[in-house]
Symmetry: D2
Subunit: 246 residues, 4 copies
């Protein structure tokens, strides 16, 4: 399998490197015993399942993964918030900046059939897809707005404005940024458990799915277990938050 998955219209995720595999988890958990697993046994698998189920997460922090992610800024923001807002801090992050000029800005533009309606019963998230005819108008508007922004941006740069200030003219939520994200297996699983859920933003769900595809190849037992069962996202909860937040 390739180490790259394409995402959205122009994005991608590459899994550049990993450290360890399922045996790493079992070995870290058995540090009180002076022996290491060379080949993953059934007993090792039972141990990994036990650890995941019982929330003994520290052994999962000894395996690490490094991704390169090319994504719209609004997806990067969600990923950052997860990294900062949670305290799963075994993460490194480096990201491209528009304070430098190194590449033409590139934007995420939903196709006509990809625009989503506001949900009927929530202040957050999306409902069903909008009719294609309506989506066509939205896509066309967005193309226009981006083109206008690029024009203003170029005008500002040409007239000598500093790039770090000229970027005020860019419709930045959809602008692609490139990041290296290094994280422990536990951290990746935590991200997936949050972002694969149905109430996550659709755009980050597809990135999460790509992360899952790439990571499960390397950690089939551990990751499957860490992503197991989990908190049913009950309908009532979603109603609850509506009320609670008001």
């Amino acid at each position: 399998m390739s180490n790259r998955v394409n995402v959205l219209d122009k994005g991608y995720i590459i899994l550049h490197e990993t450290m360890g595999d399922d045996r790493t988890v079992a070995n870290a958990a058995r540090v009180s015993y002076d022996k290491r697993t060379e080949e993953l046994s059934e007993k090792d698998e039972r141990l990994i399942k036990f650890l995941a189920r019982e929330g003994h997460t520290s052994p999962f922090r000894h395996a690490t993964l490094q991704f390169e992610i090319y994504m719209p800024l609004m997806v990067a923001r969600q990923l950052w918030k997860y990294v900062v807002g949670s305290d799963h801090t075994m993460d490194a992050w480096n990201e491209s900046s528009r304070r430098y000029i190194t590449e033409e800005p590139t934007f995420y533009i939903p196709q006509a059939g990809e625009w989503r309606s506001a949900p009927a019963d929530s202040k957050q998230g999306s409902g069903d897809l909008l009719p294609v005819e309506q989506g066509e108008l939205a896509t066309r508007d967005l193309e226009s707005y981006i083109a206008t922004g690029e024009m203003y941006y170029k005008r500002a740069i040409d007239s000598g404005v500093a790039p770090e200030q000229a970027r005020l003219f860019l419709p930045a939520y959809g602008m692609y940024v490139r990041s290296y994200w290094t994280a422990s297996l536990q951290s990746v699983a935590h991200f997936l458990n949050q972002r694969l859920e149905a109430d996550a933003q659709a755009e980050i769900q597809v990135y999460a799915e790509a992360v899952r595809e790439l990571a499960i190849e390397k950690f089939p037992v551990s990751l499957a277990e860490l992503l197991g069962e989990e908190k049913a996202p009950e309908k009532e909860c979603i109603d609850y938050i509506q009320q609670s937040y008001e």
Copy 2:
């Protein structure tokens, strides 16, 4: 002094709460000794200076501060990157989201005299101010571009597009977001040491200055020293600690 400082055209920082003061640092450093400082003595000050100068940072992590910050997204991004990219992770962060609709979007608009030129000899940062006449054009263009974005955004919302997707129409770099940032004194000092520097983006420098003003009131000795000259590992210092620890 007020616990609030206004920043840029519409932003602000509020220092809502703190835990500890300069004595906290001295007490944490003297944990091997069964006594606590009730009033900050000269000996305590010498100890704090020694700790800051020698890079013994752990005692500075026992004091904490909580800020509310209202800032353009491009400033928030820089603050996040500091939080994520560094490993000074004793930080909590919660931020407003445009996946909810709760307030009208608000934008940072530099005044005519506030536009900066690209630096002559660097790919990053800003040079001198641009002539006011040129800045007038840039401000007017930005006002137009924001108005257009707001029009498109409203049109999308009115036609039923989900807010989380409609925000693609917003020139988001300048859009104000609101955050709670809780951090240790060490973490705040680390942020200030990076962001008060002349090569930091001008907009984040003014936020950093406001953070400094608010924090120095509460931690006059510790913060002054942490922001000070840096590590001169003088012989006398080593003598110092001997005395200070007594």
Copy 3:
């Protein structure tokens, strides 16, 4: 209520300072809304309960607590392992050291009625209490062994051995150390959820109980909820780990 709880024969916990209260959690969660709670309402309580139940933990990281803990080294080790091994890293830790000579070493000595048997069906933890007559012998042996260690330690120090090497003569597991521990409310709750459980070591359970008592005064709603329901420590799990680890 006092801010101090005595623990074991000579230990204690003091809650020196806190930042924030239950309102802090509600305010951080509502950052998308431009208003703050001044008095905790029923709606705020529902919000806090929702956040705790759904695992939205970031708002609980904006409240912080600072403890001074005087505990046997074997308890400190368990507390450290929790801090390091978990990734709930919004913690600061400073601890006394026997590389300095500042106080006479002090040791935890279980009373005759406090010695516990090995569990019948587990490799870890404790079973029932041992008969008092047997405990009397154990206590007497421990007193002898500590006295012998102190004699050797003093002899080494008197003959000029460096304190950092002389401490090899101390039966260190029971030796008291003093620490400052600063942590977020989330981190404290995570520690309590692990260490209040019946299979935790008895000595750390009593420290955890003291932490709970002190913290619940300040954060009655949030902490009660964070410590709520939770993973039933089913008997079968404990059997499982036995098998899995073999």
Copy 4:
């Protein structure tokens, strides 16, 4: 070269796995540029040196190392304190426990020529070596004390005392424990910069030296620089980055 270094009388360090190499650092630093280094160039080396010297540490957090360490508890304590007390938290740690009985306890016993005197002018650390005749007595005393402890420990276990309580009879500072430590390259360098210093405890200095030997093989450029002279913020550096980043 082997991935194992023996340390002290019975200890060792094994470098089990690494993720990345010097190129990882350069690639993470150049994330704003859409190209990756395949072979480490002179320009890459200049970039790495610049980053290390200027304290731009985030790129060094994308490379990770996993060690197994067998060390006396007093060394483990110092390593923990570094991990907890600093906020270089991209670390995972799992350690053997004497709450389980899995191996006979093993102890570090300095040889006759390895005992150190108290320093003349400090409350911490060690001075010169003590005369061998005096060391012979200290070694013999320690052997006796350990033998007595083992006798008491065995007696307690045989009489049914729970292992987690029986360990109060062990002179634990010198007892060997086994750990897995996973850390970023930055974290490893930070540990080395602290623990290779002459005022660190002698026992941890030899472990630090072994970590250095093993790690420098994998990250020759980055680690050499991170352990180097430190921050001379020369004018040429600023020129450097301009060129390096191109």
